[in-house]
Symmetry: C2
Subunit: 228 residues, 2 copies
């Protein structure tokens, strides 16, 4: 087993059978010791954060696989904090896909001339580049294609899958009386046919959730979702 990548919150190993192993760490992103899922630096380490993130990821990926939506997920080993996945090739050096049901965060910062914070959005999808130095800039389907990152056909597929996955996550959260405001996904190309598939993780740090008027912190969210 060969370590091929050391990430902010996960390490990646290549296994002899061609699958990959993601090892979830207790490090979380943040600034000045305060947990902030949107931050680009590791801010602190929280005991059990890795396991909680993995358990929620397992929960959602199994639902999504069951729905017939392509993902990289194969299995999870909660005891060892690891997830076995199919190898995936990133779009360019990595993109993030954001699905929004409410106008909050960077959407409202950008488009506040045309919306109020918290206005409902009808499953709006946008893509940003993973680029810490440039604050993960927004990019259009046309620019993605022109820069050789993704075809317009892939962009369309990715948007359709994102909306389907979002509905699954939203419905599961509604069962726990939680409202999903927005969520961030990663996609890659998987298999010999290079089909678009959901990759990475779906944990509390990937989304913004509320119970009534109350914002729910990622670690609390994971607890609420996973309790029987």
């Amino acid at each position: 087993m060969e370590k091929i990548y050391t990430g902010k919150t996960k390490d990646v190993y290549r296994q002899e059978d061609g699958t990959y192993l993601l090892k979830f760490k207790d490090d979380v992103t943040g600034t000045d010791g305060v947990f902030d899922p949107g931050a680009n630096t590791v801010g602190l380490s929280i005991e059990g954060a890795g396991k909680a993130g993995l358990r929620l990821t397992q929960f959602f990926f199994e639902k999504i696989n069951e729905a017939g939506i392509p993902t990289h997920y194969l299995a999870a080993n909660i005891e060892q904090n690891t997830m076995t996945v199919k190898p995936a090739r990133p779009f360019g050096q990595g993109v993030e896909v954001i699905l929004r049901y409410k106008a909050v965060g960077s959407f409202h910062r950008r488009y506040g001339k045309y919306c109020n914070s918290g206005d409902p959005l009808d499953g709006y999808v946008e893509v940003t580049l993973k680029d810490d130095d440039r604050n993960d800039p927004l990019i259009t389907d046309e620019a993605l294609e022109m820069l050789g990152i993704m075809t317009k056909e892939e962009y369309k597929t990715l948007g359709q899958l994102t909306r389907k996955i979002g509905e699954i996550v939203k419905d599961e959260m509604a069962k726990k009386d939680l409202e999903l405001y927005d969520i961030k996904f990663e996609f890659g190309r998987v298999g010999e046919d290079n089909h678009v598939a959901l990759i990475d993780e779906i944990s509390g740090g990937n989304m913004r959730a509320y119970r009534g008027e109350q914002y729910i912190e990622p670690l609390d969210l994971e607890k609420m979702m996973l309790e029987a």
Copy 2:
């Protein structure tokens, strides 16, 4: 004749016959007394700047009208620094359309991970909101539609018209040994059928042009384009 708008570089009057009169001023945008077409504040006044901008605008709009592309342009009066135009309704509170033949400026700042400054782009079109407070944010066709600013159909038309207009401008500039790197247009809805039409102006401050390796300042560009 009623003054209905005082702009940074133009004032707008409504005339009795229903047309509008744009009065070009010698004020130009800039910062700390230095001319900067991208700036959002009036920086200084340059004698003759209004007339030069109007003459170049007249030159291009007449070519574009001749090509059968819809614009708001009706006539220009160079002596009085005025242009007569059809009334137009903005998209939302105004959008800007940027056409890029080279990866420079904000495109390179955003996507520098995937391109070098000056890389050729194949007529890439993007739309930004006119919003000084939020630094004119980039916006996708999906967000424009969701926020009620523009339909996807209008976005498509606008992209097609932009590329056609860009070719006209680029070809005219090439005749003067000038290379167009990028250019900014405004569009609006004109006529009872609300068709998408080019509005505002096309002057030196709307574009980035080079002669060989040499960046050409807007006022020099206007002189070069207009000399016999």
